[in-house]
C-alpha cells in the first residue's frame, strides 16, 4: 500500500518508474556559520546502487550522518519508504530499515568477532529479559554471516587485534546483519588492499541485488563500474547527478575536482 504512495510521491523525478525508497527535500546541515550540506534533494528508487562522490569536505559524511540519524537535520525533510523520518533517532531508523557502515570501523574492541556479529544479529530480536539465555540460532546466524566473506582471522579473538582490512569487513558485515532495505556505506574500501577492495565491492554489489545501496567512495573507478547512478557533491551542494557515463562527461564535475586541489 505504501508502494503506491511512494510511487506517486516520486513522480517529480524523471527516472522514477520504480517506487522511491529514500527521498530528501532541501536537506541542510549547518555548523555555526558553515553550511556543510546545503539544500540537498535526493530521490533514490528501490534497488538502486547509488554513489555519492565529491572532494574532501564536500559534505558526504555529514549527509550520511543526517540520513542515519546520528546528526539532526538543520532544515529539510527525509522520507523513507513513504514515511517521514525527519528527526527520528538513529536506532529508530535502523528499526525502519536503514543501516550504516562507518568509514572508521566502529566495533566493540573487547568483544570477539562472533560476539560483535551476534550483537548485530540480535538487534532484530531484542530482549529485555535479563535472565534470557543466548539463542543458539543467533550464534549460528553470526557464523553464517561471517562465512559470506573471506575473513582471515580467528573469529574467537577480540576485535581490537584485527587488521584494518578485517575491521572494515566486519563493519560491513555488521551493517548487513540487521537486514536493512537501505544500506549506507561510507568508504567501505578505504585503507583496504587493492585485491580486497575488488572482492569487497563484488560482495557489496551481490548483496545489493536485494537492497538499495548508497555508497560514499573515493575510488572513482569502482564507483563508475558498480553504480546505477551517481550524485556529485561539492561544498555541500549537489552539482551533478546521473548515470556513470553522464557524470564522466560532465564538465562541472571535472572542474570541482580540479578546483579543490
Amino acid at each position: 500500500m505504501t508502494t503506491a504512495e511512494t510511487a506517486s510521491e516520486g513522480t517529480n523525478t524523471a527516472e522514477s518508474a520504480e517506487p522511491v525508497l529514500l527521498r530528501t527535500e532541501n536537506l541542510t546541515r549547518q555548523f555555526g556559520s558553515l553550511v556543510a550540506v546545503n539544500d540537498v534533494n535526493l530521490s533514490i528508487p528501490r534497488g538502486e546502487f547509488h554513489s555519492i562522490i565529491g572532494p574532501n569536505g564536500a559534505g558526504k559524511t555529514t549527509l550520511f550522518n543526517m540520513l542515519a540519524g546520528t546528526l539532526p537535520e538543520s532544515e529539510g525533510r527525509v522520507v523513507f519508504d513513504g514515511d517521514e523520518i525527519t528527526g527520528l533517532k538513529d536506532y529508530e531508523r535502523v528499526q525502519r530499515g536503514i543501516s550504516r557502515a562507518f568509514q572508521t570501523p566502529q566495533l566493540f574492541p573487547g568483544l570477539t568477532v562472533l560476539e560483535n556479529l551476534r550483537l548485530a544479529v540480535q538487534a532484530q530480536n531484542q530482549s529485555f529479559n535479563p535472565l534470557k539465555k543466548t539463542d543458539p540460532a543467533h550464534e549460528r546466524r553470526a557464523h553464517e554471516v561471517l562465512e559470506q566473506i573471506k575473513f582471515d582471522a580467528d573469529p574467537g579473538q577480540a576485535t581490537e587485534n584485527l587488521s584494518h582490512g578485517n575491521k572494515k569487513k566486519l563493519e560491513l558485515l555488521m551493517s548487513l546483519s540487521v537486514d536493512p532495505d537501505l544500506l549506507l556505506l561510507d568508504e567501505p574500501t578505504s585503507g583496504v588492499s587493492h585485491a580486497d577492495s575488488e572482492s569487497l565491492m563484488e560482495f557489496i554489489s551481490k548483496t545489493s541485488r536485494e537492497r538499495t545501496v548508497l555508497l560514499i567512495e573515493h575510488n572513482v573507478d569502482l564507483v563508475l563500474e558498480y553504480s546505477d547512478r551517481i550524485t556529485v557533491l561539492n561544498r555541500g551542494e549537489v552539482i551533478s547527478q546521473g548515470t556513470p557515463s553522464y557524470i564522466t562527461d560532465d564538465e562541472t564535475v571535472q572542474d570541482a575536482y580540479m578546483g579543490s586541489y
Binding site: 566493540f108 531484542q126 530482549s127 529479559n129
Partner: protein, 354 residues
Amino acid sequence: MSNNNRNLAIGPVELSVADGSMQLSIGRLQTDAKKLLLGTSLLVLLAAPAIFTGYFIGLLAVAFLYAIFAISVDLVWGYAGILTFGHAAFFGLGAYLMGVITTELSLPSIGLLGLLIAFLGPALVGLVVAGVLFSRGISEEYFTIITLALAIVASQAALILSDITGGSNGLTGIPLLGIEIPGIMTYRLPYELFYFVALVALVGVYLVGKRIVQSPFGTTLAGINENETKVSSLGYDPVKYKTLVFGLSTGIAGFAGALYAAYSGFISPPLLGFALSTEVLIWVLVGGRGTLIGPVIGATALYLAENMFSGLFLNTWVLGLGLLLVAIVLVFPAGVVGVFSLAEQKLNRYLEET
C-alpha cells in the same frame, strides 16, 4: 585414520596421540580448577561457623551483605560502564524500608514482605532516576555527579524526616527475618542461622548476576560500555538498557540493605551516604571491576580487614586503604581477579611452550 589417533582423558587432562606424536592438553584445567576453588571456598564457608568464633562469623555475614551490594555496583559500573557515586542511597533506602515496615507496621510475614519491598522500592526509584536522566540525553559524567547528589540528599532526608526515620538516632529494634501469619504460625530465624541466609543470598545474587551478564541483554550492556554509538546504530535504544540495568542494580542494593537492617537491628543516616557509596567503589575496584567475583572478594576481604585491623592501626587504616587504592589503579588496574587471570595467561603460555 582412527587407528592412528587415540585420545585419553582423565578429568581435565587430555592425552591425545596422533600420527606418532603425543600431545598433553590441560586446556580445561583452568576452568575446572576455578570451579574446584569456588566449590572448596563454598564448603569452607558452610563449615565456618563450626571453626571460627561467633564474632568473626558475624563480621563475615555482614561482609556477605556488602558483597551483594558490591555486585549491584559492578553490574552498572563494571558491565554497563555507568559510574555511580551514590549507590548507598539505594542500599540505605532498602534498609530503611525494611526498618520502617518491620517496626512500624504490623503485617503478616513482615520480614519477607520487607525484603520484597526493599527490592522493589529502590528498583523503582532507580528506574525513574535513570530513565528520566538518560532519556534527556544526559552524559554519563553528569549522571555520576547527580548520583553523588542523590546520596547526600538521601542521608539528609533521613535526618530531616525524623518521624519516620528516627532522625540522627536512626531506627532500632528491627527484628531478624521471620514469617508470621497471625493465628497460624510464627517463625523467627535464630540469630546463629542468619550467617547461612547471608551466604545463600550472596550465592543466589552472584548466580543471577552471572546469568544477567551472560544473557543477550548483558552482551548489549557490554556493547554500550564499549561503543554506545555503535549499539545505537545497530538498532538498540541504549537508554532502555541503561535504565533497566540501573533499576535492577538499585533493587539488588536495596535487597542487601534490607538484610543488613534485619541483621544489625539498627540503622542510621550514614548508611545512605557518600562514605559508603565510595567505599563500595573501592571494594569493586580492588577486587576487579566487571568480573562479579572480584567485587565479592574485594568487599569481603576489605571489610574483614577493616574490622580486624583498623583497631590496631587506628587512623593509619584509612591512609593504608588510600595507598592500596592508588597502587591497585597504577599497578593492577584489573584488580585482584586481574592479577589471577594474568597469572593464568602466563601459565597457559608456559604450558604451550613446554
